[in-house]
Amino acid sequence: MAEETRVGVYVCHCGQNIAGTVDCKAVSKYAKTLPKVVIARDHKYICSDQGQERIKKDIKKLNLNRVVVAACSPRMHELTFRNVLEETGLNPYLFEMVNIREQCSWVHIGQNEKATEKAKELVRMAVARSQLLAPLEIKEVNALRSVLVIGGGVGGIQAALDLAEQGFKVFLVEKEPTIGGRMAQLDKTFPTMDCSICILAPKMVEAAKHSNITLLTNSEVQDVSGIVGTFHIKVLKKPRFVDEKKCVGCGVCATKCPVKRPNEFDMGLGTRKAIYVPFPQSVPLVYNIEKEHCLYFTQGVCRVCEKFCEANALNFDQKEEAIELDVGAIIVAVGFDPYDPSPLKEYGYGVYKNVITSLEFERLINASGPTEGKLKRLSDGQEPHRIAFIQCVGSRDEKTGHTYCSNICCMAAIKQAVLIKEKHPECEIYIFYDDIRAFGKGFEEFYRRARESWINFVKGIPSETVEDPETKNLTIRAVDLILGKMIELEADLVILSIGLVPPKGLEDLTRILSIPRGPEGFLLEAHPKLRPVDAPTMGVFLAGACQGPKDIPASVAQAKAAASSAAALLSKGKIRVESSVAFVNEDYCIGCRICESLCEYDAIEIKESSTGKPAALVSEVACTGCGVCASACPTKALTLRHFTDQQLLAQVRAAFFEKEGTCVDRPHEAVAESLNEKIPQARSMKDSGED
């Protein structure tokens, strides 16, 4: 570094957020005394246009070549200030951000003096580190104009349509034989009471017919490699044994098929044949043979379907198909599974026939369901006259591990209750609830409408249901908490408002995609507020209930946001990627594979190096710069650019040795040694006070 190091320090007040606790003027005055600091200023809002202009002017006038901003979290504004440097011709990696808001003023409210001292120390550390920062090469990768959408529910369909309309090629992968997802199973939607399939089916058809959308049903994503801009995808398409191009969906095959099977689409309540479409509006409307139960596949006989098919569409030799795709971005929209309430034995689901789940009820009240929409009890086919709903089953429940609110059950129960009242005004309905959460647009009004229909809301979650062995009626024990009275309600049908849980197979998918899950098991967004539809892996976006329980409008909104984010990312044809990535010194690498096994993002592979021995190879675009490899490497062959040992140790030294604000560029071993020597004498964190 021949050039003289010239540091500019800017201390932000952030209105009163920082200045209310930290004496920003004192911090800036102190910064001026630090080595290599040419200018230090404090500013009310350094992120404002005015603040940014101030930095630009100083860079030009004072020839600054390092900039330190002490303000909020780098997650908020690091990019803002990197851009400031870039606009003045400096490399953006010569910028260092100090967080004196979240990590100082906000956590030390009322301790102004100590907080100011801490802010000074943090700035001193940053100034020391900034002197060792090195310019990094700005990297760009090519972006394909194509997107993979995983999951063909309403979210996946909407994302696919939005991207296809913008000219992107979309591959919509769905593991079931039809798209439509959970929404297709619902009878009506709250709070508008639209017929669910009536508003969904046109979108399903549109997706199937769109020239930019390739529909891959009966298919699952097996492998994802590559990085943003160019992901390589392997999809496995299971055979239907029916030719998609020939089948006209007439259904004669199904009427002739002798094998009856429980229909998963009707939650197992009704039956279908071994050759089937899940529901009449299936897209594509192509029949599908369930190989495990087809007489031909199990016993080598039958093939009746083939005899009656006028289109000659049956093909018993159809094989699994491995499909390979290249896409620029991925949208994950794999939805949710309904909670199975069997473990909550007190409610008797699976034991008492007249205890059903809310999703089963949707099929029972649906015109194309097993009872053709007639409300019947499962035990005797009788119409129920008193129905009880139990809320929060498998939600807000530490015992079952589903600690979160499932978001839709309050409104779903109210909708179902209103539906019953519309068809059977005489039917008594009791909803046992803990809280009614009616937060969405039109929800509160809908809740009022339910009360208007004389639906009885009982505050208090029942302890148990007990079946009368003769009548199969159920006695519910609960307490009306408002009256403080014990209630025994004998109902002839109990509907459990079950929660939403992460879908089966989500764990495998997260492994394939190298994306994390949150503590409740749903997919984790990159930032809960500022990047709510992005996975932490660049180029992967999230839509719908796989990110957390969501109703239809929220799922569609998130799908549209994900589609728009993917389009924004790919539309320029080039994508700038983070330069702060791992770097291997092949001379030191012993090929131990520790880094390879630790890398969450599959960014490291052990390959033969230029000298012929095995060494780690980092995919600089797949690397997210997490630093795990660099900290684990036993020979220090791996370095994380922008977070080198020298840079970090300079920062650590400055934390402990006030006088050594300056740092010479010396081998990191020596710095580590000197640290080991001096730390015991240095004042420890304990001595510095409560904080």
């Binding site: 006259h385 009360r451 208007e452 009548t471 009256l483 014990m486 025994e488 309600l489």
Partner: protein, 172 residues
């Protein structure tokens, strides 16, 4: 098939009886926020007076509990709760409707009975008119007397059957 509160039976149709009486139909909108109770001036002095509970018990169908309750008769009909209810529940009208139902069944609080008895007897709720006319004299107003209209008031009470409903035990 039944609904029970501990050992007593619940009448799910009771709420409809209340709703049928003029002013009673708004009861269905209550979502138990408690603002009526917080507003109620009686509630301020009497902890056991719980307007929101009366509504809840009515909606659930605890008919006897509601109709037998002394609390029913504590409402001063000031309309503060009705004024402030966020859901447009007209509690004052509802409690009047419930009182009417109770009265129909002969369930009237003894205090109301004695008041009605006084009206039947004296044409007003108190017997002595002299202090009233004293006040009127001080204000320069002419004396009045309801003695003349007593028979008419008694007629009204008879025709509206209030007389039989409120007759206290010893009179029967």
């Amino acid at each position: 098939m039944e609904v029970k509160e501990a050992k007593s039976k619940i009448d799910p149709k009771f709420k409809f009886e209340v709703a049928r009486v003029a002013g009673g139909e708004s009861i269905r909108y209550c979502f138990q926020c408690g603002k009526c109770e917080a507003t109620c001036p009686i509630r301020r002095f009497e902890d056991s007076y719980r307007p929101a509970q009366i509504i809840r018990a009515t909606l659930l169908g605890l008919k006897d509990m509601v109709l037998d309750s002394d609390m029913l008769w504590l409402c001063a009909t000031c309309y503060s709760c009705t004024e402030r209810c966020p859901q447009g529940v007209r509690f004052t009208d509802i409690i009047r409707a419930i009182r009417n139902l109770a009265t129909e069944k002969g369930k009237v609080h003894p205090f109301f009975k004695s008041q009605s008895g006084a009206i039947a007897k004296f044409g007003r709720i108190f017997e002595d008119e002299s202090f009233l006319n004293e006040m009127r004299r001080e204000l320069g107003l002419p004396s009045i007397s309801v003695t003349a209209s007593r028979s008419e008031i008694a007629q009204i009470l008879r025709n509206t059957k209030i007389e039989t409903l409120v007759k206290s035990e010893e009179e029967k």
